[in-house]
Structures are given as C-alpha cells and as structure tokens.
C-alpha cells in the first residue's frame, strides 16, 4: 500500500530535505545550507528517505551525493489518480454544461485543457 510513502513524507523536516533535492543532486552540506537544519538531522532524514527509496546516493571522491528517485513519487501520484480522475470527469461536465449554455445563447466555444 502506497500509504507508506505518505507516512515517510508526513515529517515536515523530511519534506524540507526533499524540497532541497528538487534542485538536483547534492551533498549533505548543500542540503544543510538550503533546508536550514542541523547536519545530524539532515543525515538522519536522508537515511530514512534512502531506505524508503525516495533518495538514491552515490560516492563522488570524498563526498556522497544524494538525488531524488522518481518511483515512490509516481506511486503516490498513482494513489491519487482515481481521485483526480473523478475531478477531471467533473470538470469535463463543467465544460459541457458551459458549452450547452453558450449554445443556448447562440455562442460557441471550445474548451482547451491546460
């Protein structure tokens, strides 16, 4: 169940670490600077994120570089997909209702998705 992914991201500090990594691969000190959290905290959260598959790491000389992994985020997205689908359908109907009213008033238009 993908709920585990939500549990992992339910920690605000971990979300800050994830935010910092959205800018690309980084070493711990860069994440510390961006997230404004103590290094020991960042390391601990990176370990948890790594174990949960959210973050991959690789050595680069003396440094360790961390980067986000797409798979767990895709899983979270897939979990939300049916819900999103309900609303997509609802907004389809919104567009259709709009179109119908416009036709009744003698105006036509096309909806475009963004």
């Amino acid at each position: 169940m993908h709920i585990d992914g939500f549990e992992i991201l339910s920690d605000p500090t971990r979300r800050l670490v994830v935010e910092a990594l959205r800018h690309g691969e980084q070493q711990v000190s860069d994440i510390v600077a961006q997230a404004g959290i103590h290094q020991s905290g960042v390391s601990r959260h990176l370990r948890i994120l790594h174990e949960a598959g959210f973050v991959a790491r690789r050595p680069d000389g003396q440094r360790r570089l961390y980067r986000l992994q797409a798979a767990p985020f895709r899983e979270l997205d897939a979990w939300l997909a049916p819900y999103r689908g309900l609303w997509e359908a609802r907004l389809d109907r919104f567009g259709a209702a709009l179109e119908k009213r416009r036709k009744a008033r003698g105006i036509t238009h096309k909806e475009k998705r963004t």
């Binding site: 549990e7 309900l86 238009h109 475009k112």
Partner: protein, 171 residues
Amino acid sequence: MSRNGSAAAASALRPKVVIERTYRARLEELWELWTTKEGFESWWGPEGFRVEVHALEARVGGTLHYDMIAHASEQVAAMRRMGRPTSHQTRASFVELRPHARLAITHVIDFLPGVKPYDSTMVVEFFPSGDSVRMVVTLDPMHTEEFTKMSTMGLASQLTKLDRRFATGRG
C-alpha cells in the same frame, strides 16, 4: 529554519490536489455554474449522480444545500448493495466569495458511519486572460467527499492516522 518557516513549508507541501482547466468563455458564465441553482445543478456530479439544489446563497456564509441523487442504474445498484440510500442530503456553505475571482465552499462530511462529521473545503480561483478563463480548483484529498467515499472502501483507518499526522506535523 524557524518554526514558522517550517510550518509554512509543511503547509505548502501538504498533498493538495490542484486541478485546472481553461475554458474559452466569459468569466461571468463560469461563475454562474458555481453560484446559481440551475448552473450548479447542470454539472455537479459525481458521475451517475445528479443534484437537486434546495438552497444556494452566493454570499460569504451563504448556505448550499442539495440532494445528491444516484440516477444511473449502476450507481443506484451500487448504493443499494452497500445498504446506502440512493439520495443524500448534502450541507455546504460558501466560506469565501470574491465575485468573479475566488470562492471557497466547505462541505460537511457527515455520512460516514463511525466517523465524526468534519469539514472539507475546496477553493476555486478564476484567472481571465483574453477570451479564456483559467479555473483552478484546489482540494485537500484528505478532506473531501470523494476521498472519504474511497476510504469507506477499506482505507478508512489508514487515512485517519494519516490525517492526524498531517494535522500535527512535527518538525
């Protein structure tokens, strides 16, 4: 990082679902579909359901009361199978309303057996540009009717836990 900064970041990262569409129409026409009885009834779903609006007062604090009625045979059968009525009285209100710009509707989610009633708010924003209007709907999937319906299909306990975690947000 200050506590406030952390809280703001946490809030920004809350799993909101944002759905947007651009419609080639006048802003007033979109607005009518949210704020008039016949407008609202013409599209508000979900699929297989129709709504009958009993009260719609488009003002801050105004009520929005409607029945959500299963009308497609499949939905009627599904509701019967679950031992649920095919029509549900829904209570909501307009908690924000800036004409032709932004509105927020809070629904009272009070139909889940064993779950204390709670509020679910959605925000709708309108951004006109040329002959089109971009409509942005922001939903908190942890607090919406559809999601709670999904939760009745076996996810309820996890979601309640998750809700608490998001609500308390530790740093």
